[in-house]
Each structure stands twice: as C-alpha cells, then as structure tokens.
C-alpha cells in the first residue's frame, strides 16, 4: 500500500478504511512539563492563549512522532465560557473547575449564550487550530475537543449533586443534558469551521461512577444525535471501566471510542464487534508515568495484537511523564508493523 500522510492515515482509520500502518493518536492531552519547556509554552498560558496552545500541541507530532495534534489540553474551556469558577493553576498542575462552588442548581438556571464560542477560553482554541493548520500544513491530523453534556453537568452543578439528582429526579437530569447539548454542538461545529479533522467528545459517564444502564438511559440517544449533528468523525472518550457499555457506544454512529486501560484490548474489541473503532489504551499513571519504554511498548503490542485501530495513551497524561516513554508509543507501532 502506498505510504499515507498522517492525516490520511488517521481519517482512514476513523472511517473504517484500510491504512498503511496503525495511526498513533492523542484524542486527549500529551502535554508535559518537558514539552512546555522545549517550546516555551507553559500552563496556564497554553490553556488560554492561542499561540502557546498551538506551539505545545504541535509537539505531539514534531517531537513525539504522533500522527495527530490536539490543542485542547484541559476539559474546562467551555465551562469557563459558561461562567464556572476556574482554577487555572501553574505550569505543573492541571487547570480545574471549582465544582464545590457550582454555578447552577436547577435545570432552569442553565443559560448557554449564543456567542459561547467567542469567549476568550473557547476562541483561543479556534485560533490555535487555525495556527496549527498554517504551521503544520495539510498532512497532520488535527483533533479538536468538545465536552459532552454529562461532563459539563458535573462542572456546572457539582459532581455529587448531579449524581444524586440523576437518582432523585431523572426527568430533571434529562432536561439538564438536553439544555447543555447546545454547548457540545456549537463548540464542535465552530472547531470544524476552524479546520479540525475530528473531534474528541469526552462525556464522563465512567464505570467507576455510574452503570452501563445509566449510559443507555441518559446518554446513548444524545450521542447518536451528536454523531448526526456534528459532521465530522467523533471520538467518544469515557474513562474507567466501560466494557459494560461498549455495546451501546458501538451503536451511536460515532467513529471511535477512546478507551481506558481498565478494559483489556481483546475483550474490548470483542465487545464492539467492529461497529466502532477503538483508540487507546496505554496506561498513564502506572506505565507511561512510572515505568520504562519497554513496558510502554508491551502495552502497545498488546493493543496491536488485539487489532485495536488507533494507538495512544488512555487519557490526558500526567504532566511529568517523560518524552522517552511517550516516544516509545510510535517506536513500538513502527516496530510491530516492521515485524508483521
């Protein structure tokens, strides 16, 4: 097969078409302190200004050798635009939403401005995407990110309060999700206009918190709607144990599911039955952060042996993860393909 560009490879994998080799992707952040230093793009600036955001995002391809770049390192840009109380932190800590100080209490409190994408913390993402396309050209895949309504509800209502509400008042819960989906769609579409090739859609109905039945009850139909309303390959991201809901996820029409190391590659591939591509699932805190490149490679091989369609870390990586361990991912992919 003719050699593909990174972008061709990633799009082919997302569209279920043949590839020259398995793409190496980061649907979530691979930003590290080391990379920030190399390109002078530290947090919090890289989370709030387009130029350092693009500079840092580009390192996924230029330094680490991934086929993708993804400039939205955090999961809070939209929450900031909605008015959540933010903690932007410094270089070696993640920005976060003060969920103990939620901005809303009831579904009726929800207000999604029509100009959400013009807020500085969402606009910088759009500008960073444009800068990346200018700087990297047409051959690298740019993945954007738009948060799903379940995750947004955590930020805006507080995790504990929202989870209790989901039990106490399912109708109010559905109302909240219905109202918040505008954020997901508006920000997603704006990133398509800016030039992304695909979008990660994190929606944290993780098995560590809620059941697979919850996913089916509250989110599956919304995710089907997103797959239709956002005209680009979508990569759903849910952390934690998710095998019990992979069947439902496979029915959403999304292009790929970014899955966590708590789910074995072989079992996960069996569960999705080829109806959705998988991306993952290299362990972050134990392998990428704390072990050796050989340990990283072993997990890459396990995914490739199982037929996983795209390889990458399982989630946003710890900021102190070494470049050497991150580079081990593409090294392993190339090595595996040379032997098969």
């Amino acid at each position: 097969m003719t050699s593909m560009t990174s972008r061709e490879r990633v799009l082919a994998a997302l569209n279920g078409q043949p590839v020259d080799r398995t793409p190496i992707c980061n649907p979530t952040s691979v930003a590290t302190v080391e990379l920030m230093d190399l390109v002078d793009a530290p947090f919090p600036d890289a989370n709030r200004q387009a130029e350092p955001m693009a500079r840092l995002a580009a390192t996924a391809h230029t330094i680490l050798g991934f086929d993708t770049v993804m400039p939205v390192f955090s999961i809070i840009q939209e929450s900031s635009a909605l008015g959540c109380k933010m903690q932007w932190e410094g270089k070696d800590n993640w920005p976060t939403v003060r969920m103990s100080e939620p901005i809303w209490e009831h579904a009726d409190d929800i207000y999604v401005p029509n100009d959400l994408v013009d807020h500085p913390d969402t606009k910088c993402v759009l500008d960073a995407i444009k800068l990346l396309r200018e700087d990297l050209g047409p051959d690298v895949a740019i993945i954007g990110k738009t948060m799903g309504p379940w995750s947004l509800a955590y930020h805006c209502f507080g995790v504990e309060k929202f989870l209790l509400l989901s039990l106490d008042d399912p109708d109010a819960t559905k109302d909240i999700l219905e109202k918040l989906k505008k954020v997901t769609i508006d920000f997603g579409r704006a990133q398509i206009e800016a030039g992304v090739d695909a979008l990660t859609l994190p929606d944290h109905a993780t098995g560590d918190l809620v059941s697979g039945e919850y996913y089916h009850r509250y989110l599956k139909d919304l995710h089907i709607e997103f797959a239709k309303a956002i005209p680009i390959p979508l990569i759903l991201h849910i952390c934690g144990r998710t095998v019990d809901r992979m069947g439902f996820i496979s029915e959403t029409g999304m292009a790929a599911f970014h899955y966590d190391s708590k789910n074995a590659p072989g079992e996960s591939m069996q569960e999705v039955e080829g109806r959705i591509a998988l991306v993952g699932n290299i362990n972050n805190p134990e392998t990428l952060f704390a072990k050796t490149p050989d340990d990283v490679k072993a997990e890459v091989y396990a995914n490739l042996d199982a037929g996983v369609q795209m390889i990458g870390p399982e989630c946003a990586i710890p900021l102190q993860t070494s470049i050497a361990n991150l580079r081990a991912i593409p090294e392993a992919v190339h090595d595996w393909h040379a032997r098969h």
Partner: protein, 251 residues
C-alpha cells in the same frame, strides 16, 4: 450458628441472599442482624434503600426507646452501609446509589454524633484525609470520612487540592499517625508519590502511615508509590485505617 432465616427483617434477608456471595461476609452479616434489635434492622434496611427520611425518623425513635447511640450506629447505620459497600464493590450499585445511602446515613448520624461526642467515647485514633493537589474531586474522600467517623475515628478533613506542605503541616500539628490521600484523576495520582517523597525529605515518613485510594488508584500503584495501605472503597478504607493505627501503635 445463626441462619439467614433467623434475620427478622425481610429486606435484610433479601439483600443478604441476593447480593452477598462470600461465606465469611454472609456469616458476619447474618450474625450481626440476628443479634440486632428489630428497630436497628429497620434502620439498616432503610440505609440500604437510601431512604434518608426513614433513617432520620427511625434513629430518633430508637433513641427515644432508650437504645444506646453507639448500638444504633454500629448495628443500624454501619451495618446497613456494610451491605451497601459490598453491593458497590461487586458492581450491583454505583456511586449515585452509594451517595443516596450516605445521605441516609448522615441523617442518622445527625442524631448520633452529638451524643457520642458528649459522651467522651475514646476514638481509635486520628486520620488526616485529603484529595491531592490539582484534584478537586471529593466524593470518595467524603464517603471514607463518613465511614471513618462512624467507625470511631477522629478525622481531620483537609479538603481538596491539598499540597504536600499542607499534608505535612497537618501531620506535624495534629500528631496524627495515619494519613489518607484520594485522587480521582490519572493526571493527579502522581501527586500521591510526590507527597510521600515530601514526607521522606522532611524526615517525617516514619512518623505517619500513609494510605491511598480513589477510582483510578490500584494496589500496584500504591505499592510503587511507597504507600503503606490501599483502600479500594470506603469500607476497606476503614479496615486499612484500623490496621495502620495498630501498626503505628506497635511501632
């Protein structure tokens, strides 16, 4: 030996029959509830059902009937949460249900805690609890704290986003022998290791037993970070804390 049919409360019998599989746990809870007063079995059942209004009313009633506060807590509230903890561990229920049951337990503890505090009952020891730097999640930590306090521990809650220095200061100021750290994000888990290293650098590592927990945390991670204990959930957090307090006293 007591049999399941000896448990008077139908809900409790059904819960044990349907959700408990380990023989030692079945034996423990059958023994507990067959020995428990009917009113306390009602409280335990209401805890499992997450019925905070019922727990509130039944606890008040139990006190009016002259049942000792500590007996109400042990047999009713903690007994019920024990079943909830097993159901959570085995994935029969998830966090929303556990939160609902915890809300019910708090309704009962609102009556019990003032009585126990006033009675001067000796605590097992002091545990410092906090979510690590960069992490603002506290559901798991708060469930652990509730169970620790209910089980007779004094708990100092440092909240969320706790820096290494804050953990160190809390240990030095309180003399607590057990520290518990929580994280819900794989990105913040490494801060557990950094905190442990900070204790080593401050020459305080031998002064405190450190346990870790949180959804993404594993025994392997705990061992690699140099923690003394790992709790997979709020119930095992109590068991680990008891072991570590004993270890600290023996040292």
């Amino acid at each position: 030996m007591a049999e399941l049919t000896d448990v008077q409360n139908q809900t409790l019998r059904d819960e044990i029959e349907e959700y408990l599989e380990r023989p030692e746990e079945i034996e423990r809870f059958v023994a507990l509830f067959t020995g428990a007063r009917p009113r306390l079995q009602e409280i335990a059942a209401a805890i499992i059902e997450g019925d905070d209004d019922a727990v509130d009313g039944l606890t008040a009633q139990a006190l009016e009937e002259g049942i000792e506060a500590i007996e109400i807590m042990d047999d009713g509230l903690i007994g019920g949460m024990g079943i909830v903890g097993i159901k959570f561990r085995e994935n029969f229920v998830f966090v929303p249900e556990v939160l609902s049951c915890a809300r019910a337990m708090r309704a009962g503890m609102a009556h019990i805690e003032p009585i126990l505090s006033a009675s001067g009952v000796e605590k097992h020891g002091t545990v410092i609890m906090g979510t690590v730097k960069g992490d603002l999640h506290d559901i798991g930590k708060n469930l652990c704290i509730m169970m620790l306090r209910g089980s007779g521990f004094e708990v100092i809650d440092l909240g969320v986003d706790v820096a290494e220095d804050t953990f160190i200061d809390a240990v030095e100021d309180s003399g607590a022998k057990v520290l518990g750290m929580s994280a819900l994000l794989t990105t913040t888990m490494p801060n557990m290791g950094r905190t442990i290293e900070a204790f080593i650098d401050a020459d305080l590592r031998d002064e405190v037993q450190i346990m870790v927990g949180g959804a993404p945390v594993t025994q392997e991670f705990s061992d690699d970070m140099g923690a003394d204990g790992y709790g997979a959930d709020a119930l095992s957090c109590v068991a680990v804390a008891k072991e570590l307090i004993a270890a600290a006293k023996a040292a």
